[in-house]
Structure formats: C-alpha cells, structure tokens
C-alpha cells in the first residue's frame, strides 16, 4: 500500500505540474488582468519604460476645471521627452502592495528608475488597518512566487490577509488610545485619542459647525502619529523596496506627497504641523542615510490646490500636480544627467 501511495503521490504531482503549464497558457493571463491588473502593467512597463511611477490616487485625480487633466507622472515625463514613463497607479495602494509589484521586476529590465509615492497618511494606524486592505491583499495572490496554479488555488481558498473589518477597527482604536505622542515641549494630550476627543469638544466651543469640527478631527486621526522606524510596517515596506531595487540595479526615488499643512495649522494648530514635519524630517533623513533620495513635497502646495475639502487627502488640482511633478523631475536629474527639459 505504501509503495502504491507514493507512486500515486508522484503521479499527482506530475498532474499538477502539467495542469500548471496548461493554466499558464490558457486562463492565467486573463485571471491576472482581472485580479491583479497592476501586475500586468508592471510586466509590460518593465520592458517598455525607463521610469516606473508607482502611485495611489494622488497621481491621476484631477479637477474638472483643470485645463490639463494629466497625472503627475505625465507632467514629470514632459521634463524628459527622450525617456518613457509608465504609471503603475491604483487608488489606496501603498508601499506594502508596491513592494510585491517591485519584486516582479526582472533583473536586466529596461527600467532605470522607480519613483515610489510616499503618502504620509499611509504610515498611520488608520490606513495600515484600513478596511480596503483585504481587497488589496487579494490582488497580490496570483503573482506571488510559486506555481501560478497553486496561487490560483490559494486565491480560491482565500489565503490572504482577511482580517475582519471589526478587528481592523479595534487595532486602529488600540493604537489611537495607546501610542504616546512625544513633544519637546509640554503638550496636554498623551495620545491621539485624547487629542481627538478634546478637538471634538473644542470645535463647538469655538462656534464651529459640525463639518469643520469633524474635519479637524479627521486631520488629527490621519496625521497625529509619530513614525517609529523600528516598528512601523510602512518603513519595513519601503526598506524592502529599496533593497530589491538595489539588487536589481535600479535607482529609486521616494516621492513624499504634499499634505494640506495650511489647513492642518488653521484647524488644529502648530502642534499637528510639528508632528507632520517631524515625520517628514525622519523619513528624509532615514532614507538619505541609506543613500535614497526622498523628494520632499510636504509643504510644496498651498491649501487652495487641494481638491478635497471635507477630508485630508492627496488629491491636487493642476498647479499642485505640476508642482510635485517638477520636484520629482528635478530629483531625477541625478539619474538622467543632461536629459532634463523645462516643460512649462
């Protein structure tokens, strides 16, 4: 019986390998396009483009009143007419997903530089434990290392991070209530939660309407955290991206997006701005020490060029996108000497 079983197991393994080959040439491309669209863009882009621009919705969101509705990646490419840029863009994506895509870039590909969007809010507990994360993790399953047909089975069996939304929410609240805020000066609130509660009372006391108070609280919930390079999962994601780029001999730029610092100051005050800039300084210096350029756009754009007025976001009108694009383009000069052109 044992010998028969072993032979049958070997035969089974052979069937699976054969099935994998059939799957690769039949259904796999369609499945990839349906479930992991950005992976297909990376596979195309790595052979066609000199620069891959990884981003979330900050890249392509525009205002209907913009005369030019092009994304940031397009505006950046206008400064390098001799180069090909390709945007790898999807709403809510972050470094944790970008790294899985960067992993699939082959050594010896045409890509010379990766521009990876660095969204300050993505370092916060709210984004790290977002309800969207389950769907995002699902998009990465099909192109994990290993036999495609095994990955397809794992997709059917829901083998990815499917933490229930209620548990994600609990984690967010736990961080808000326990992560201590440290200031170099006396600050009345020990945690984000304390600060948020105080703001929710302060707003009405100042005569603010409900919308304005809520917006202030949103700013606190999205920015009132301090990045710890040892424990923050996004730092780990960016570190892995940097490492992989180095192994593949590809240059890398982290594009720290602009935040609405003016509104943060107006609504919450200098303490929140302090934390935002403290996080910015940490990121710039941390990666500079690793030889990686962080394009600092944090204060680059004034409030009027932010599209969303009820929620802190990184959606910009045309001047905002062009300003960021110019900063990125200037940073790219180091890797493409002599190719930079003024675009507008």
């Amino acid at each position: 019986m044992f010998r028969t079983a072993v032979l049958k197991i070997i035969l089974l393994a052979g069937v699976i390998v054969a099935a994998d080959q059939i799957y690769r040439f039949t259904l796999y491309p369609k499945d990839l396009y349906a479930e992991s669209t950005l992976y297909t863009y990376v596979q195309e882009g790595q052979h066609e483009a000199d620069v891959l621009y990884f981003a979330e919705s900050s890249n392509g969101t525009f205002s209907e009143t913009d005369s030019l509705k092009n994304p940031i990646s397009d505006f950046t490419s206008w400064h390098y007419p001799s180069l090909t840029f390709k945007a790898i863009e999807h709403g809510a994506y972050h470094a944790g997903i970008f790294k899985t895509l960067v992993r699939t870039i082959e050594e010896g590909s045409r890509v010379k530089v990766l521009v990876i969007t660095m969204n300050l809010r993505s370092f916060g507990a709210d984004w790290i434990n977002s309800d969207l994360e389950t769907h995002l993790q699902k998009t990465t399953v099909l192109y994990q290392p290993g036999l495609p047909i095994l990955n397809r089975l794992l997709l059917s069996l829901n083998v990815f991070d499917r933490t229930p939304n209620a548990e994600r929410r609990e984690r967010v609240i736990h961080h808000w209530k326990t992560d201590t805020l440290r200031f170099p000066y006396p600050f009345p609130y020990a945690t984000l939660d304390d600060w948020n509660i105080a703001m929710s009372l302060e707003g009405p006391a100042k005569g603010w309407d409900k919308a304005k108070t809520e917006l202030s609280c949103h700013f606190i919930k999205n920015y009132a955290f301090q990045i710890d390079t040892l424990t923050n999962p996004r730092i780990k994601d960016f570190d892995e991206i940097a490492e992989m780029a180095k192994e593949k001999n590809i240059k890398i730029i982290f594009n720290l997006l602009a935040e609405n610092v003016q509104d943060a100051d107006l609504l919450v005050g200098k303490d929140l701005v302090f934390i935002m800039r403290q996080n910015r300084d940490l990121l710039v210096n941390y990666y500079a020490a690793k030889g990686i350029k962080v394009v600092d756009n944090l204060d680059a754009i004034s409030s009027e060029y932010f599209l969303d007025k009820t929620w802190p976001s990184e959606h910009y009108s045309q001047p905002g996108r062009q300003a960021i694009a110019k900063n990125v383009a200037q940073a790219l000069q180091e890797y493409f000497p002599g190719k930079y052109r003024d675009a507008w």
Partner: protein, 468 residues
C-alpha cells in the same frame, strides 16, 4: 472551519494520520478533540451548546432504557422539548417576536419587540435533529442506549458531518465510530476521489455561479426576462452544487477513516416529480421527517383529508427548519401543494412514471426542474416582496435589453456539471470511475484537479446550508 480552506487542507491529513497512528482505545478521544477544534473555528463558545445537547440526550437515552411506563415517555418528551427549545431560542426567537408584534399591531395593541442579538450556532438544526433521532430510537427499543459518553459525543460532533449533515442515525454512524478501522488503500482512494469531486462541485460550480445569481437577485428590475430566468436557474444549480459539494466532501473525509456516511443527494434534478425529488434531495432530512414526523402522524394510513394535512404539515415544518422567515415557510408549503397536486393527478389518471430514457420522461424532468426552480425563488429571496419582484420582473421585462454577462468558462463548467449528473445518475464518482482503466480514471482526476485549482470561484462563499 470550512472544507474549502487551507486550514482544513492541513487539519484533515493531520487528523487522519493521528487516527491511524494512535492505539484504538485513544481514537475516540482524537475524534472528540478534532471535532471540537473543527467546530470552535467558527464561534468557540457555542461548543457549550453542543455539550448541553450531548449531555441531555446521553442522560435521556440511558434513563429511557432503564425506566418503564410513563417515565420513559416523560424523558423522551423532555429530550425533544430541550432540543427544540434550544433550536427555537437561537433560531426562531426573533422571528416569533416580530410576528407577535405584527399580531399586536393588527389588533391595535403596542408591543415593541427587543431583538435578540445572538448568532445562530452553526449546524444547530442538524445537531438537534441528529441527537433527537437517537433518543427516539432508544425509546422505540430499536437502539441500545450508549453508555460511553465519549462515543455518544462523537456521534453528535463527528466533524465531517457536524455542521451541515448528512443527518445520520446512531445505528449507522455511532456503531462505526466505535469500530477499529485499519488503514486501507481503498478507503484512501475513495476518500480522495470524493473530496476532489466535492471541491470541484463547490469551488468551480457553486462559487462561480454565486456572483451571477447575486447580481440578478440584488436588482431584478433592471434585467431582461431571460436574464432573470437564467439567474433563477443558476440558483437552482448553485444551491445544489453547494450542498452536494459539501456533502460529498463530508462523505469523503469520513471514508478516509473507514467510516461510511450516507449519500445526501442522488441527482435530484433528474427527478420526474416533486415526490421523486424529495427522495433524491437532502435525503437524510426527508427521511428524518418521514420517520419522526410523517409516520407518527399516521403517514398515509389515514383518511385523505388527514393525509393531506400530514403532508402539508411536514413540508411546512421542513420549510421552517430551513430558516426563520415566511419565505421558507412558503417554500415548504409550495412543495407540499405541488406534491399533493401531482399525487392527485397521477391517482386520477392512474399514471405511473416509466423508468429509462424517453422523450416523455425528459419533458417530465424539465417540468419538474422548472417547478423546483420557481419555488427556489422563495428560498433565495430575502423577503416575500423581493420574491414577488423577481416574478414580476420575469414576466414584465420582456422588452428590457440589459442582460447579465455569463462568462463562457462558467457556461462550460456548468455544462460539465450537468453532464456529470447525467453520467453519474444514481452513482457516485468513486464507484463510477472504478469501472474504468487507469488512464481514463486519471484523465478524469486530472480534469477535476485542473477545474478545482484553476477555476475555483475567486470569491469564497460560505456553504449555503451553514446558515441552517
């Protein structure tokens, strides 16, 4: 724990390995621990409810056997009332409360029901019925009371069939659980074939049909009549594939331990009448109702009016067993009514269905499938109003051009599934493949493996019958 999960893929071989590695005297403990672990993967605390059911019926069984006279009946009634009460509390409390409020409002009263925020313990309907069958059989003198609490617990808890059946009788399952099974190649082969086929049916068929069905049922008014009809028919196949797939995996998992549990389905959509349908669909439930409700009510050994009443009552309760909603009651009632109409028609015209393939039989099969499909609408729709909207849209949307998109791969898979039913008719995949040589058998396995691995639904849907 779901059968179609990585967790189960690791769990099962470990349990099977330990089952044969352990000395016989410890196997009952392994099954007990494994079954508890399996169940607690859902909501751990609810294992206590199963423990309560087990204790009640274990003690009731011993007591019924020991006592004489009216006390025997007392303990039987106690067991039944306890089981039904537990089921009623978790499953029907809110339904009862809401309807009581409606009655009060109808008469001008004011009753504000407070809803019970409890989850229905998974598989509770199955456990209570399975456990009740034991005490009833002990009372009838057809089953000796089990003295070993562990063996009895395993009968209720046995993980392959604990959450969605088949509902087994103690004389079949309980006795097998006590036997010493040696590892046998035939059992492993049979088990893996059944599990593979069950996964194909659940993952490649049911889970791929679900999104299309959901699309139609969510907003039927926007789809063409043909799309709605397709959506209805797809649900017929979805619920069949879902439950049949689960049951097949359950049978296969038990087979790996040398334990035979009953088949719950015998190609039900090839039935020529509702009566035949219920001999082929969820067989363990229909036989339970036959043996413990229909026959005790008098069965067909009573006058015609009382017989009609018995039939309708059994179908109504069967509907209610499936869910605490009037749509399920309507679903059951419609099956009962159609059954009665068919019986009267065949009686009046002295009609007897002939066996074998014929054009007439094919028409009967299609007729029955359509009837069952239309009745399923009440099962699937979340409310009577939504069921009504489905039928209204079916007849009114003839000129609507918006159609659902059915991927060609899904159409192909469904074709394979229907073909498998036609080919397997009254057989199982393991017995059917056994008649062929090695190359053909392995070609079938290879195709099934491909379907499971490469074409499973990407949205993992829970087994439909888990909600019952």
């Amino acid at each position: 724990m779901l059968f179609n999960s990585l967790h189960f893929i690791f769990f099962l071989p470990i349990v099977i390995g330990l089952y044969y590695a352990l000395p016989y005297r410890f196997r009952w403990l392994l099954i007990f621990v494994a079954s508890c672990y399996f169940y607690m993967a859902f909501v751990p605390a609810y294992i206590l409810i199963l423990f309560a059911i087990i204790l009640i019926d274990y003690i009731a069984g011993l007591t019924i056997e020991r006592l004489t006279g009216w006390l025997r009946k007392f303990y039987l009634v106690f067991s039944i009332v306890a089981n039904v009460s537990i089921l009623a509390f978790f499953k029907y409390f809110n339904f009862f409360n809401d309807n009581l409020a409606e009655v009060f409002h109808f008469f001008g009263g004011n009753y504000q029901p407070s809803a019970l925020q409890v989850l229905l313990p998974i598989g509770l309907s199955f456990h209570t019925f399975q456990s009740m069958s034991y005490t009833i059989e002990v009372y009838r003198g057809r089953q000796k009371a089990e003295r070993h609490l562990g063996y009895f617990a395993n009968y209720v808890l046995f993980f392959p069939q604990m959450v969605a059946g088949p509902i087994e009788r103690y004389e079949r399952l309980g006795e097998q659980l006590k036997q010493d099974h040696d590892p046998a190649y035939e059992n492993f082969a049979r088990g893996f074939k059944l599990i593979l086929f069950g996964l194909f049916v659940k993952m490649a068929i049911a889970d791929n049909l679900a999104p299309v069905v959901n699309q139609v049922y969510e907003n039927p008014a926007q789809y063409s009549s043909l799309s709605i009809l397709v959506g209805m028919m797809f649900f017929s196949f979805q619920i069949y594939a879902d439950f049949y797939g689960y049951s097949t995996i359950a049978v296969g998992s038990a087979a790996l331990m040398g334990i035979n549990i009953m088949d719950n389905f015998k190609t039900p959509y090839l039935s020529k009448s509702i009566g035949e349908f219920w001999q082929r669909w969820h067989i363990s439930l229909s036989t339970w109702f036959r043996d413990y409700l229909y026959i005790p009510l008098g069965g067909n050994k009573v006058g015609v009016p009382r017989w009609c009443f018995n039939i309708l009552l059994v179908f109504l309760i069967s509907g209610l067993w499936h869910g605490a909603s009037w749509t399920f009651v309507i679903w059951g009632a419609l099956h009962g009514l159609v059954y009665l109409v068919e019986r009267f028609v065949t009686y009046i015209f002295k009609w007897k269905h002939k066996k074998g393939f014929s054009v007439l039989n094919t028409l009967f099969i299609l007729k029955n499938f359509l009837i069952v499909t239309f009745i399923w609408v009440f099962f699937r729709a979340e409310s009577f109003e939504k069921a009504e909207l489905m039928f209204k849209s079916l007849f009114a949307n003839i000129s609507v051009t918006n159609t659902i998109q059915v991927p060609y791969t899904l159409a192909g898979l469904l074709g394979v599934f229907i073909l498998s039913d036609l080919v397997l008719y009254n057989k199982r995949i393991d017995t059917w493949t056994a008649q062929f040589g090695f190359p053909f058998r392995w070609a079938v396995y290879a195709v099934l493996i491909f379907f499971v691995m490469a074409m499973g639904g990407v949205q993992n849907y829970p087994f439909i019958y888990f909600q019952f």
